[in-house]
């Protein structure tokens, strides 16, 4: 029997792109949250954490409405970037980024907040700019938090189901990721294929978390 590996490759691609985009957005956002004393800090932190507690279908429903060509956001994307967001891969990436936001931002934020304030202060006293302090002192000392954010985001995106189904449907090769393929195959009573997808998803998540624990343990041993 020939198995279709496309859903798995699509899941890997989605997880990879989402993790990259979230890293680029999440690290600056977490840094801002760790330093800001503005009143908007609280509402933004709440919004970032919302995907943890919202049912994925609720989030998916609003994203579906927001991304449809009938909405302003979806319309602008279509008009200027010629990208249709619903039932497309770019739409899935946007949905995944929002859905996995707390996994990246909260991990990195915990890293920044766990550092003694005197580290950044010492760097400033030594004549360094905020940028130099961030890149030479703060980021290198929160490597475990950065890696946790990356690993959790990747693993979480691999296993995403509700949001993806709501905004992407299950178009083979476009939006039918592995987690949805499992559901499809079970519905079709095709348990062998379901086993394959489910087993690989399980193994990938397991491997990522093992890697996460090993790397972090090594880091802490290294600095002691």
């Amino acid at each position: 029997m020939v198995y279709d590996l496309e859903p798995l490759l699509l899941s890997l691609k989605l997880a990879g792109v989402t993790t990259f985009v979230l890293f680029m957005i999440g690290v600056p956002l977490a840094y801002w949250l760790s330093r800001s004393r503005s009143w908007v800090r609280l509402p933004i932190q709440v919004l970032v954490t919302m995907p943890l507690v919202l049912p994925p279908t609720v989030l998916g429903f609003y994203l579906l409405l927001g991304m449809s060509p009938a909405s302003l956001f979806g319309h602008l994307f279509l008009k200027y970037l010629h990208l249709r967001l619903v039932f497309s891969f770019p739409g899935l990436v946007i949905g995944s980024v929002i859905f996995s936001l707390p996994f990246m931002v909260n991990s990195v934020l915990a890293g920044f907040e766990g550092l003694p304030p005197s580290l950044a202060e010492a760097s400033r006293v030594l004549g360094k700019t905020e940028r130099q302090t961030l890149f030479h002192v703060l980021l290198p000392n929160i490597k475990p938090a950065l890696f946790t954010g990356l690993a959790l985001t990747f693993a979480h995106t691999m296993g995403e189901f509700g949001v993806v189904l709501m905004i992407g449907g299950k178009i083979p090769g476009v939006t039918r990721v592995a987690s949805i393929a499992v559901y499809d195959e079970v519905e079709a009573m095709n348990y062998a294929a379901a086993h394959l997808y489910a087993g690989i998803l399980f193994a990938v998540s397991f491997a990522f978390l093992v890697l996460l624990f090993l790397v972090n343990r090594r880091f802490y041993r290294g600095i002691q």
Partner: protein
Amino acid sequence: MSETLFFSLKKRLRSVQGEMSLEVEVTVGPSEFACFYGPSGAGKTTILRMIAGLTDPDEGYVKYGATVWFDSRAKINVPTRLRRTGFLFQDYALFPNMSVRENVAYAQVKRGKNRAVDAILDTVGIRALGDQYPGRLSGGQKQRVALARALMEKPDVLLLDEPLSALDWEMRVKLQKDIAKIHDRFSIPTLMVSHDPTEIARLSDMVYRLDNGRITGSGRPAEVLAVDNIVKE
């Protein structure tokens, strides 16, 4: 040639005992070693932080010679990184990701002057530890690294926030001697916060007793500490 440090600072602080108004006015001569002592929560550390620019005063000024670092009336507030102070933190604040040598070299304005790093490591007697990481050092060694790092770019003013409080007695005495030697050599206005009367008597030229945000006594260490019955002459 070093200059005189002048500061007059006001700041409302919230402490465990409630609200408190910190008000101090002090002049530290070009090569003077001054010390603040007093109960915890009296505002001693805040004074050092305001001089370094890590905490903003409500009112007042900080001047190093003719250079204004802070003036609330003229709305001048020079950022910390441009003030050229050396600050020794109570928790040492060494960067865990950098070796001893890298910690010290990080302070350089222009990187790569290895000889200068070696020289300063020699001054504090830790050149042999250059490749070690802070996590593997003892408290005394850590404070020596912090001292070397603070002195790397020859600061205009040295601020020491209870630098020896976490060390055992023997290490304290050793480092007190080193600090005295370094102060003689660099000859810059130095301000220390300390709880230890012996340390104060050994190191400082002037002592300020700080109580509840106000200076309640000042003078030579022997005078002030004798009044407080801490050191009997």
